[in-house]
Amino acid sequence: MYSYGGTILRINLTDGSIYRHPTEEHLAQAFLGGRGLNVKRLWDELPAHTDGLSPENILVFGAGPLVGTLFPGGARFNVSAMSPQTGILGDSNAGGFFGPELKFAGYDQLIIQGRSDHPVYLWIKDDVVELRGARSLWGQDVWDTTLAIQQELGDPDIQVATIGQGAENGVRFAGVFVNLNRPAARTGMGTVMASKNLKAVAVRGTGLIPVADVTRFSEIIEQLDEAIYNHPEYEIRCRLGTTKLIKALDSIGGLPTRHFQSGRFKEADAVSGEAIEELYKIKSKACFACTIPCSRFLVVDDPRFPGLRLEGPEYEPLAGFTARVGNGDLALALKCIDLANRYGVDAIALSEVISWAMECYERGLLSREEADGLDLTWGNGETILALIHKVAHREGFGDFLADGVKRAAERLGKGSEEIAMHGKGLEVFQADVRSIKAYGLGNAVASRGADHLRSEPWFEFSNDPEEGIRRYGIPETAFRLEYKGKGLVVKHFEEMAAIADATGVCKNTYNNMEVLDWEGTAELLRAATGWDITGEEVQRIGERIVNLERLFIAREGITRQDDTLPKRFLEEPLPEGSGPSTGSVLELEPMLDEYYRARGWDVQSGLPKKEKLEELGLD
């Protein structure tokens, strides 16, 4: 199979058995790989209502057909399972170098079943697969574990996907981390891994991946490189990566300031990507074979945090530990991000539980005594650091927060549920969706709970009504504060995001910079796989993945009622001082109607209709 590793590897941790079978070409043609093939596996092999932390749950790593090629940013893998955080689809994605190494070892997917009776790690060297004892690694953080495994196996080029102490201690929003600083941290996939007593997956691959037509494939890659180099965002992405968004969102009133109480943050400049560049950046860093080095290596020279060095951060953790918690101290925020990475927990969820607690305190719903005597005033650095340690170790008040904001608010009660910023149990990202309506809809309908990376519908920033008419027949689609037509925009971008995740490429290029349309993707996949595939069929694969994910969460009881967001976004206008977004609310209901219609789903229930499923071969 051209452009695939060719093999699926199954490991049963209960009895230590290892089994291989060829990657099924008919499934690859229907779902490509990565996220697409992962959800297919979960749908086929997980019984409904499987407990996320039970040995019956399966943990699936998948890397798609463009991973490990010269595709710029063809670096990504997905890790999927039933989520112990949300009780629905768990799925998270990361770049770095792990996905390509897995492909070079010959694998498109790892399926991990059962539970080991003692801590182990999985070591894959091409065809040789071995479970090794991990007692000495248990209790170590992401950095130490990664380096210890590379040292034990004697090869610094080994790629390691590991969990930190957060997952071991049962924090429900713990992730799987690669390359020290790169998280696949949404929906608690690290927590699942820990429940299986699996500390890490180490992989080294020395194989070469053939494509069907290497000349044509390379030509298309060269054109893509050119398109990226000439893109108007190229330079700023190389300098700042996604941290460019701090200032951009501040200017439109879209920051999550003090737990979404304002769209602007007075200290935005001081904690911006530009400030990081000026103060701490040593150089730009990139994922495997990427032409946009959007990551950065930082050396933070601050006497309070000796030896602080890290790669990144992305906008999400940066906004989380600055605007969201009301903190204007940049070095402190970077320390928080470093701790989240080392403990191996989701920085989005972590910043939400902390900022939620701060708002509860501000409103008198939570006392200082209940919070272990901590002063929960906005931006209190000592409190924020203390809470990170406490959550990761599930100590005291940290134990209360470590199950995520939905469960914490249910336990606290007193109306604190209304300000728990989540959708389907997953904490909302770092932007106020009252200022960006397609993102709001995308978060409400996302298959893994509130999240932007299921759609990333950048088009509403374009301010190009002509293009809005050309694409969707509706000029308003080009404006972020309008809601009309956003159902069509989200449908389109959800399918693009699904293709990005299923092929294993980065949404910065594929969704936000739109370097390939459906036909361009088909052309590349034809050269890669040798399949006779059209642009329309590529779009269909994206649609199939979105629909199957919908079926998966519908089986767990999700309907239209659950496709919603916190009341704050739907009913409270963005307060004064939120710049050009002041006064805005999210008009979710009409957007939902439009979205379900565009999807061919039932408008009342939000579930796919029989005809749609037949059309996609999912009946």
């Binding site: 490990g68 090629t69 020395t206 730009s284 860093k285 990139a286 994922c287 990427c290 946009i292």
Partner: protein, 163 residues
């Protein structure tokens, strides 16, 4: 004679050079047969591309017992006569830079051939960490940088004196 010059300060560590090398020579994608290698020390943020030294008195050529290795007088690269290579790894042991290897599939010597004078790795480098240029081209760049820095320091001193 041009060579591949390295500026590790701007290397992003993406390893595209390795993949481009493999794609050019093997027509497939991977890193195992790359003739350029990036050392990454992640906790320190270090990324360093290693390239063939194009040694004038090449130890690999001298060590080869079957004269399978020879110098291309146009590009200066060390080339291989595959039919004469016995895969003994004498060149691997002789290379002072650790930049000779044996191809994992063919078992024959694996040494940078500069792609015949238009290196694929350099073409794919996004950051300018590797460039194909004459020895000394970076030395000039370094001298200029140094000169600019010195003149800036002088100006700064003058400004201070003026105040």
């Amino acid at each position: 004679m041009k060579r591949i010059l390295v500026n590790e300060d701007v290397c992003s560590g993406c390893r595209a050079c390795e993949v481009a090398c493999v794609a050019w020579h093997d027509g497939r994608f991977g890193t195992a047969t790359a003739r350029i290698r990036v050392t990454k020390i992640e906790p320190l943020g270090v990324d360093h591309p290693h390239v063939c030294g194009l040694c004038r008195r090449a130890p690999c050529v001298a060590a080869c017992p079957t004269e399978a290795l020879y110098r291309d007088e146009t590009t200066g690269a060390v080339l291989l006569r595959p039919d004469d290579c016995i895969g003994c790894s004498a060149c691997v042991d002789a290379c002072p830079f650790g930049m000779a290897a044996l191809h994992p599939e063919t078992g024959l010597a694996l040494i940078c051939d500069l792609c015949g004078g238009d290196p694929a790795c350099v073409k794919r480098c996004a950051t300018g960490a590797i460039v194909y240029d004459y020895a000394g081209a970076r030395a000039r760049e370094k001298r200029e940088k140094q000169a600019v820095k010195l003149s800036e320091e002088t100006l700064e001193q003058q400004r201070k004196n003026d105040v």
